[in-house]
């Protein structure tokens, strides 16, 4: 606990110091150093002592209405791991990539908000009091606005930051309502008191609270349909910020949801199914939209929506299992969700930082202008490849372990009680497999088109690897991806302790959970062994290949071009053409808007085909909705005409009205 408070103090002091440093060059050293120091202290606090131990303390902080109660348990520790790990990596990467704009940008302010974001995230995860939680939540929602709008000279960036701000606060309203209702019921703000109070309310009240929590926390996690801010904000933000937001901050939404479920008492039957359904919609919608994107960072943003969906599928399955007394489903659902969350933080952070390196070197992350980077940026290339292979869940890398547990949980759906439940669970299994296939297409495209083949633009041709200082943070995350795959049995033991917390409401399931978790650990040991065997096999075959080629003629020539004599980089497959078979199979209008002017007549002149990715919900739901609201607000302008005597009349009318009402 002391270490955690120390970490909080270092982060707060770092933020203050950066603010003082302002535009001076010291800010770009001070900010990252304090962030890394805070994160290392935090990691020490998280991993020292037993993982499952519950400790608590009170911050000496006079909060109105609430108290500064903080604490640590396995759930908080699990969510703190990516915050500290990714926080340190992103700070290190950001220091290098921001160095070139130290003269014309206020880096002090940037690092102030970065440290503040870290500080508030730690506080969100450690808070044991509703008021403290909400204050920290609000800081955590505000700080990214300033981080996203770093390049505020560009209109696109300002707009993205604005969309983020609106989305974050629409979500925050629901969180606020959730806690207000709970507070109203209990009269106290401590988490323990809230949990006790909500148990006394009726099932209707609990369900209403559940929906509030799902919308409020779901908006933070980027669950569809509340995801629109992610694809807007991530391409606009500096890459180390996108990496942290996508890999660590949106996790807070999942954390909030898990905590909230703990307050609401035993779940009703439909809660788990709703989570499962929302997760499926999010995952499928996210990956389908990601497929159509041509900007790597936008694609990664949609992929985050997809991954949050997978985590939600796990939570939903866990809840369904816990509710029906199915320990296998409950444990593997929760374990799958938690482990996938950790995995996602590692590989998504790595991919965003990798995309940042590409942006830095080539000036663009548009797939149609990249290509051939593996040759020009070999180190970044291999790091990005590790991230891409992890997100495709290829064994033995880290993405596989979480998805395997999700699959396993759902696969025993044939043993569920009713036919509908069975079909629901096995259908989810099928959907998970389909999502896996689409992720494969998406990231084969991302890595293959950006890093392989010939460069599609002069800028890509001139791209070169950054120095070691910039690539170290990526290397650490890539190592985490590898270690996460081979060390999955150990991670299962951590996640199992975190899964105990939501299962406390279901004692019958909780009693069997450690047994099932042990099975999970054994399964993942088998996978890790197979992974080691695979490495050995690759080594043996590589030696065999070398032996076969020894003494044989090995020539370099140009790519086989089927007889065409003047191949050109523009003839390569493009991003849109790579995903065409999938988009043709699912219906092209789902992920992109196509306009086609066919050539006509005997001497055709003009033929145009444009394919533009679009967001279904944004196009057909949010834009019309906000236009409607805008028009309604325009109507209200009749009242606001600027004539002061009429305003005085309004006041008089209201006063008279109030008097009459009181009479």
């Amino acid at each position: 606990m002391t270490l955690l408070v120390l970490a909080l103090a270092v982060l707060a002091a770092g933020a203050a110091a950066c603010l003082c440093a302002g535009r001076s060059r010291a800010a770009n050293a001070l900010g990252p150093v304090c962030a890394v120091a805070g994160c290392l202290l935090g990691l020490a606090a998280t991993l020292s002592g037993p993982f499952g131990q519950t400790v608590s303390g009170v911050l000496p902080w006079g909060l109105p209405f609430g108290s500064g109660a903080i604490g640590l348990d396995a759930l908080s520790r699990l969510f703190l791991l990516p915050v500290f790990g990714l926080g340190a990596a992103c700070a290190l990467s950001g220091r290098v990539n921001l160095a070139h704009c130290a003269d014309d940008r206020n880096l002090g302010a940037h690092w102030f908000f970065f440290n503040l974001l870290l500080f508030s995230m730690v506080l969100v995860l450690a808070a044991r009091d509703a008021v403290l939680f909400l204050v920290a939540w609000e800081i955590m929602s505000l700080a990214p606005f300033f981080l996203i709008s770093f390049h505020d000279g560009e209109e696109r960036v300002r707009e993205a930051a604005w969309i983020y701000l609106v989305a974050a606060h629409l979500g925050a309203i629901f969180c606020l309502l959730f806690f207000l209702l709970l507070w109203n019921a209990s009269g106290e703000t401590g988490f323990a008191a809230l949990a006790a109070a909500s148990a006394s309310g009726g099932p209707g009240a609990a369900s209403a609270l559940f929906l509030l929590a799902l919308i409020g926390f779901g908006a933070k996690a980027g669950i569809m349909p509340m995801h629109v801010w992610l694809p807007a904000a991530h391409p606009a933000a500096p890459s180390h910020v996108s990496a942290f937001l996508s890999g660590a901050m949106i996790n807070a939404g999942i954390y909030g949801l898990v905590r909230a479920l703990g307050f609401l008492g035993p779940a009703q039957a439909w809660w788990g199914w709703l989570l499962l359904g929302a997760g499926l919609v999010s995952a499928l919608g996210g990956i389908l939209h990601a497929l159509g994107q041509r900007n790597i960072k936008r694609m990664l943003a949609y992929s985050s929506v997809e991954n949050m969906g997978l985590i939600l599928i796990g939570l939903g399955a866990g809840l369904v299992g816990a509710r029906s007394g199915d320990a296998w489903l409950a444990t593997f659902g929760l374990l799958g969700a938690f482990i996938h969350l950790l995995n996602h933080s590692a590989f998504k952070g790595l991919l965003f930082l990798g995309a940042g390196e590409v942006l830095h070197a080539a000036g663009t992350v548009r797939l149609d202008q990249l290509g051939g980077l593996q040759k020009r940026m070999p180190r970044t290339g291999i790091l990005f490849l590790v991230g891409a292979a992890s997100i495709m869940a290829l064994p033995p890398l880290t993405g596989f372990s979480g998805e395997l547990l999700l699959y396993l949980g759902l696969a025993k759906g044939f043993a569920a009680r009713g036919l509908l439940e069975q079909i629901g669970l096995l259908g989810s299994f099928f959907a998970l497999a389909a999502i896996g296939g689409l992720v494969f297409v998406c990231f084969a495209k991302a890595y293959g088109l950006a890093f392989l083949g010939e460069p599609r633009s002069g800028a890509a041709d001139k791209a070169r690897d950054a120095g070691a200082a910039a690539l170290w943070p990526l290397a650490i995350l890539a190592l985490a991806c590898l270690a996460g795959g081979l060390g999955a049995p150990w991670i299962v033991s951590l996640a199992a302790q975190a899964a105990d917390q939501p299962l406390t409401l279901y004692p019958a399931v909780a009693a069997q959970a450690p047994l099932v978790a042990g099975q999970g650990a054994r399964i993942l040991t088998g996978v890790a062994l197979a992974g080691l065997g695979l490495f050995a096999l690759v080594g043996v075959l590589a030696l065999l290949r070398a032996a076969l080629l020894r003494g044989r003629p090995v020539r370099a020539f140009r790519t086989w071009d089927c007889g065409y004599v003047a191949p050109d980089a523009r003839m390569q497959y493009s991003g849109a053409s790579f995903s065409e078979p999938v988009s043709a199979a699912v219906g092209p209008s789902v992920i992109a808007k196509e306009t086609y002017v066919a050539p006509e007549g005997y001497f055709p002149k003009r033929a145009v085909l444009t394919v533009a990715p679009r967001d279904l919900l944004e196009t057909f739901f949010f834009v019309p909705l906000f236009e409607l609201i805008g028009r309604a607000c325009d109507q209200a302008k009749v009242l606001q005409h600027g004539r002061i005597h009429l305003y005085i009349l309004y006041i008089l009318a209201v006063l008279v009205g109030l008097l009459l009402w009181k009479l």
Partner: protein, 301 residues
């Protein structure tokens, strides 16, 4: 005593290329030709292994690593898949999921190797392979779910004990049909892909490996043969239970089953034309539909 796992793996390693020879011979018989020797695939592999290699100047180490990684992943799957009585060499709950994802790893290696050449043709093949496997993979998982629902097991050793013939449930016959369609799609056979076509524009798997030569090509061709063996073994396992009780005889029957699958592939290739590419997703949807019906009927019982 059951045939030891090592013997099973060795059988697969040695006999896998023969499957291609069998398919070819069946097609030749249908066409009234004499056909090449059954051992021709072996001769091709040995010839390739003794050759040098040509590498495109565009390519990186990815291109050279692709055949090695893909073959290694496919061989790793071989360790997980049982054949005949006696479990596989390595078995744990959910090993079928690992097997499917190892096949995905093999595919990823070949797809990235193809993209590494910068050729539009190989990009085309990579795109099609990725898209069609995205549809074939869920179908394969559905088939495993049908078997899981009927055997109540989650290991390949239990799933592949011949549920289709040993149980009295007629709906289980739909699962092998779906599995066979997946086999055709995953191994680039007619009606999905034509391994003998001469036109790059219409290929899927063959166009991805246009630039590979020498031992690299041998690795990929051998990997493809072993992959075909794996799918035939899975199909055999889904259909054929241990019939005689004598482990050696049952093992021989299972090997015969694998070759029977190959013969079926040859028959399909002889009597069918290849589908237009936009039709392929519909074929795979048919596989999904078959498996779904089988799954729901199995659950309903």
């Amino acid at each position: 005593m059951a045939a030891p796992a090592v013997l099973r793996i060795l059988t697969a390693l040695v006999l896998a290329p023969l499957l291609l020879g069998v398919i070819n011979r069946v097609k030749a018989i249908f066409a009234g030709r004499q056909g090449r020797r059954l051992s021709q695939p072996y001769r091709d592999l040995f010839k390739l292994a003794r050759k040098g290699a040509v590498y495109s100047r565009t390519t990186t180490w990815i291109f050279k690593a692709a055949p090695v990684v893909s073959l290694a992943a496919i061989l790793a799957v071989l360790v997980l898949v049982p054949l005949g009585p006696g479990g596989p060499a390595l078995s744990f709950t959910g090993d079928f999921i690992l097997a499917v994802y190892l096949l995905a790893l093999a595919r990823a290696a070949v797809v990235l190797g193809a993209l590494d050449t910068g050729s539009s043709f190989e990009g085309m093949g990579a795109s099609r392979e990725a898209a069609f496997s995205a549809l074939a993979e869920p179908a394969l998982f559905l088939c495993f779910l049908v078997l899981a629902a009927s055997t109540h097991g989650l290991t390949l050793g239990v799933l592949l004990r011949g549920a289709a013939l040993s149980s009295t449930a007629p709906e289980l016959a739909l699962a092998p049909i779906a599995l066979f369609i997946v086999l055709l799609a995953e191994n680039s056979r007619i009606p999905v892909d034509d391994p003998n076509t001469h036109l790059e524009l219409t290929m899927i798997h063959e166009v991805m490996i246009l630039d590979h030569s020498g031992p690299d090509l041998a690795f990929i061709e051998y990997g493809a043969a072993v992959k075909l063996w794996i799918f035939c073994a899975v199909l055999t396992g889904a259909v054929l239970p241990p019939l005689t009780g004598d482990p050696w005889l049952d093992f021989a029957l299972a090997v015969a089953g694998v070759f029977a699958c190959a013969a079926c592939v040859g028959v399909v290739e002889s009597v069918m034309a290849r589908l237009r590419l936009p039709r392929v997703p519909k074929l795979l949807a048919l596989a999904c539909a078959c498996a779904t019906i089988a799954l729901i009927l199995t659950l309903w019982r």
